[in-house]
Symmetry: C3
Subunit: 319 residues, 3 copies
């Protein structure tokens, strides 16, 4: 299959210029991104890991929060499509001189940038840019709102490892309240027909999350046996106030995965984690590196998903 052509599907045409969140997307659109990723995944296994799909296009990475991992993934995805990449980080920039996000972005756009990948601590920052810029905007994480490419790569990983998403029972464990990863995962999983159970201490799992179509459980042991997939969110010590959070030891005892606890799960349960892992907290090393773990697959699949997204939003046939 030609990796620069989207998968043939006469019933569907991609029309979006931006990827702001999964809330807006239909199940068909999500599936179309996964299918496109499938065709790009093969490129990364070649000796020459490059296709000319976006040659002469410019992708700007605007990161207002540290994120080596996501930035590197988008950078490699753009390079693999032969695009040029412009790196911007808040440190040492005009942002320190008091420039507004909108001015920063409009200036970068005026240099002829085709797509802007933005990570920002403020929810809605990518949407604001989409209103004011002509470039395509890709949300790489905005506040506690969404992290759509993470949600996409997670459902893509489930589809590849389990053969499908619909009907699977997925547990998401940890700080649901403050997690954009949880939100984008729930959205993608529900749209593709999975059942979602969110698991964590009451202080970190708000009742309101049920309105997203998921069930709440405060005990991992209670639901672990039913799950096809368990997605262990990273505890972001740097962000959580201690009043909401039990001790690390207590958290790990109640919500961490170790070999013994995993022994009570389905034998082929898929263990996921968005990284970076706090080994010994969310899970022990034998689980992280064991046969159930899909953690490195997530990284590999993330690259294919980001290639697909960069490719699709740069299509000429967009609305």
């Amino acid at each position: 299959m030609d990796p620069i052509a989207p998968p043939a599907d006469d019933a569907f045409t991609w029309t979006r210029k931006h990827l702001l969140g999964l809330d807006d997307l239909s199940a068909d659109e999500i599936t179309y991104i996964l299918d496109t990723a499938e065709s790009f995944r093969e490129v990364s296994t070649r000796s020459i890991k490059k296709v000319p799909a976006l040659r002469g296009k410019v992708v700007a990475n605007l990161f207002f929060e540290d994120s080596t991992r996501t930035r590197m993934s988008f950078t490699l995805a753009a390079q693999r499509l032969s695009a040029d990449v412009l790196q911007f980080s808040a440190a040492g920039s005009s942002v320190k001189k008091g420039e507004t996000l909108r001015d920063t972005a409009r200036n970068i756009e005026a240099m002829g940038v085709d797509a802007v990948v933005i990570r920002h601590p403020q929810s809605g920052a990518p949407h604001m840019l989409a209103r004011h810029l002509n470039a395509s905007i890709i949300n790489a994480g905005d506040g506690q709102h969404e992290h759509p490419t993470q949600g996409l790569l997670d459902v893509y990983t489930i589809r590849r490892r389990l053969g499908g998403v619909a009907g699977r029972k997925v547990g998401i464990v940890g700080d649901i309240a403050h997690s954009r990863v949880a939100r984008s995962n729930i959205l993608a999983l529900r749209k593709l027909g999975a059942e979602v159970i969110v698991v964590g201490p009451p202080t970190l799992v708000p009742k309101a999350i049920e309105s997203m179509g998921c069930t709440i459980c405060h005990s991992l042991d209670e639901v672990l046996g039913e799950l096809d997939v368990v997605n262990m969110l990273r505890i972001q010590f740097e962000r959580i106030s201690s009043s909401l959070f039990p001790s690390v030891r207590e958290y790990s005892q109640r919500y961490g995965l170790n070999a013994q606890r995993l022994g009570r799960a389905k034998p082929d349960i898929l263990v996921m984690h968005p990284g970076p892992i706090n080994r010994g907290v969310e899970m022990t090393s034998d689980v992280a590196d064991g046969p159930n773990s899909a953690i490195l697959n997530q990284v590999t699949n993330g690259l294919a998903i980001r290639m697909a997204v960069l490719f699709l939003v740069n299509q000429e046939h967009r609305s």
Copy 2:
């Protein structure tokens, strides 16, 4: 027109290896750069924004002061000409280990770099490098001395928006005393035959500036009605000592542009600013984003100017 060929002009051959400042350049040379920029400007409007003009050449960005905007512009310009770009910044470098600028630069040159773009807090740093290195040197701002590509992009923007520079009346408003942007602008404008009036409080506008061929005025309101162009310099709060500077409120009242004040100017006056703007200080948002503003044009044109400069100093026929 073939964008990698300089404009045909039998009467002129580019011979300079460096761009150290506009003081050295003749009007013909400045015009030749603008004409070359014109031919490159079109590249940025293509779907594939790339020409092979500098393929296999290496451009090193040596920035000893923060400047996301100028650095990005030079980076994109080099990428668009298919050059490789090497990023150097003082933080985390041998500079911290006490290495001299000359040693740093000679080391970078020994790696086979063709052109060095340098920004440095010390006036004359690019000239020193030009004496000791074989690579082409491009001044991206040295102390309070010059910022030649900014001067070039400003006259280029005036030429594009007003059809020409000669005979136009241009006001430059703000901290004239400490501004390399002001100096390079005055030089370029005077050489191309514009009339220049510098405007600002007496503490920020030295009498000696008249020797550059411009008029001094301490009241914006007094001259605004005559101007074809007004270039509002950025107030660099981080650099100005408070003893020289009135309060922000007072400055903005006397020297800031708002809709009311603009109403007393010529209807098609061109409003410029080198960015980043302090909205509400140098001008209000309605002016910055209004029809008279050329601010984003300046950014776009800056890219074309930098492509032209990188291209010309890398020519084989140089002296």
Copy 3:
């Protein structure tokens, strides 16, 4: 000669996937790297400084210590081979979030990286990566252990300037005890048949170093007259505790090179330094910039050595 083909030598085939240190390498292997560098050196003198040897390959620079110079050299080497380069530095990365080196590296590898260039303060870090990753690992300096590409570029520089290494008498002056540069130099020089004398104050020259096959001398003046090459190590003020180190003034008087002292050496002695130089400490400026100095040759040759190493470890015929 085709620069992307290794030198024809029917008796030898390169089989190593990694370059972890020179301790492992045979004299034939070292010579083969130098011969390959010779064929790549020519590329840097062309107008188009690029060969397609590693097109579509990805090289990741993982630097856990500051090193502009070595990082730039590896970056340029990879670009010149048409590889894509991914920059990683510990600042602002997941490392700050407590991630282990192994997790960081495995994540980067999962993105489809072909070679990892690593600098790390801990001796043995590259070897650990080599055990756990499938990518090729290149040691760019690990703790006080080895800096193999520096050792290679130093013997390559001697070979180019003096016509050969075997039988030459080489002095290495300075902090031998803590220097990975000294260790990799001694290994390369001894394997290629040079005689090595290490010179420095007793606190910085451990007796045990004799087991590497070199002689110890505590007076530079005593041996200078016999040397064909003198390699002046950088005094790393930031790393040496004052109890081991005499005053800078005293060090420079006893172990620094100036014109007067150089006058007592062989007329064509080669003066080397890994950079960055502390002018006035390890040597005076007239020596550093004089006809005996090979310091900028070392930089130029370093690029060719790194091209050769990146090329060789990425060969398909590797074991």
